[in-house]
C-alpha cells in the first residue's frame, strides 16, 4: 500500500467515524453532499476541521473553501474519493 493509499484510507476512516450508521462502509463513491449524502452539514464541518488538523500534522494547510465547494458535479465534497483526491493534491502542491 502506497503512502497516498494509506492517507486515503485514513480520510475514509475519519469520514466513517462521523457516520451515524457505523455499519456503512466508506468508499470512493460515498457521497458527502446531495440527496444521498452520508453526512449532515454539522458532520461535514467537523470533517473539515479533522482534515485541517490532519493537514497541519502533515505540514500543509488544507483549504476547504474551493470555488466549486457546493457544485454537485465538481465539488471536492461530492464523494469521499473526490475529497481524498483534493486533499492529496493540495498536499502535493503545498508541501
Amino acid at each position: 500500500m502506497t503512502d497516498s493509499d494509506k492517507l486515503k484510507q485514513k480520510i475514509y476512516t475519519t469520514v466513517a467515524a462521523l457516520l451515524e450508521d457505523d455499519s456503512k462502509i466508506v468508499s470512493d463513491n460515498t457521497p458527502l453532499i446531495g440527496d444521498d449524502r452520508a453526512l449532515d452539514s454539522m458532520k461535514l464541518l467537523e470533517l473539515c476541521l479533522a482534515l485541517e488538523d490532519m493537514a497541519t500534522d502533515l505540514g500543509f494547510e488544507f483549504d476547504w473553501t474551493s470555488e466549486n465547494a457546493m457544485s454537485k458535479s465538481r465539488s471536492m465534497f461530492r464523494t469521499a474519493g473526490a475529497l481524498a483526491t483534493e486533499f492529496l493534491s493540495q498536499m502535493t502542491d503545498k508541501k
Binding site: S41, M42, L45, C48, L49, E52, E61, T65
Partner: protein, 225 residues
C-alpha cells in the same frame, strides 16, 4: 481571545477598550493599526486574502478564539441614483462581504471549540428604510439576512450569531451628518435619544456573556424601532 474588526476607531475601538477594561483578551483588526495600543494586525476586511492571512496568523498563535465582533464598516449618505458605482461597490464590499469573509474564515477557529459568540453590525436604517442611505441600508440588510441564516449554520456548534443595529451613535461614521438629520432619525426610535458607544458596548458584553446563550439569529436595535 476575542477578534474585533474595525478596531482602530469608532465603535470597534470603543468595544475593544470596553472589553479590555473587562480583562478580556482582544485581537484587533484594522486597515491601519499604527495607533492601536493592543494586540492587532492589519486587515482590510473587504480583502478575502487579508482575512485569510489573519486566520493563518491566529492559527499559528494557537490561541483559543471565543468571539468575533464584526464592527468594521463604512457609510455614505447619498441618494441611490446619484451614488457612483465605485462607491456603491465599496459599501457593499466592506459592509457585507467583509462581514461574510470574516465569518467564513474566522468562525472555524470558534466552532471547533463548540462554544462562542459572533456579533455582526447592522443599522437602525434597515428597519427605518432611511431616505438617502439606500445603498448603505442594502449592505446592512444583507448583514441581517446573513446573520439569521449563519446563526442556523452555527447553532449545531453552540456558537451564537447575533446582530446589533445601532441608530445614530456619536462616532466618526456620522462625520458630515447634520444634527437635524440625526434628530430626524432619533425621533423615529422608541427611545428618542441619541445613544453613545457605551450603549453598544453594553449590548456587546451581554451578547458575549453566557447569560445570552438563548439568543441567536437576532437583530438588537439600539434605541428600539
Amino acid at each position: 481571545m476575542i477578534i474585533v474588526t474595525g478596531a482602530s476607531k469608532g465603535l470597534g475601538r470603543a468595544i475593544c477598550e470596553r472589553l479590555l477594561s473587562s480583562r478580556l483578551e482582544i485581537f484587533g483588526l484594522s486597515r491601519d493599526v499604527s495607533n492601536v495600543p493592543f494586540e492587532s494586525m492589519h486587515c482590510d476586511v473587504s480583502s478575502y486574502h487579508d482575512v485569510k492571512n489573519v486566520a493563518h496568523a491566529l492559527k499559528h498563535k494557537g490561541k483559543k478564539i471565543s468571539g468575533l465582533i464584526n464592527a468594521a464598516g463604512i457609510a455614505s449618505m447619498n441618494l441611490a441614483v446619484t451614488t457612483p458605482p465605485k462607491v456603491a461597490e465599496k459599501i457593499i464590499t466592506v459592509n457585507l462581504l467583509g462581514t461574510i469573509y470574516c465569518c467564513q474564515l474566522l468562525s472555524p477557529m470558534i466552532f471547533r471549540h463548540k462554544a462562542g459568540s459572533i456579533i455582526n453590525f447592522s443599522s437602525l436604517g434597515v428597519a427605518l428604510g432611511l431616505k438617502g442611505e439606500s445603498i448603505y441600508v442594502a449592505s446592512k440588510a444583507g448583514v441581517e439576512g446573513f446573520t439569521r441564516a449563519f446563526a442556523r449554520e452555527m447553532a449545531d456548534f453552540n456558537v451564537n450569531v447575533n446582530c446589533i443595529a445601532p441608530g445614530p451613535i456619536e462616532t466618526s461614521l456620522l462625520k458630515g451628518v447634520s444634527q437635524v438629520q440625526i434628530s430626524k432619525v432619533v425621533a423615529q426610535q422608541i427611545l428618542q435619544k441619541q445613544f453613545t458607544p457605551e450603549a453598544v458596548c453594553d449590548l456587546v458584553e451581554i451578547l458575549l456573556a453566557p447569560k445570552s446563550k438563548a439568543l441567536s439569529g437576532q437583530v438588537l436595535h439600539v434605541g428600539g424601532v
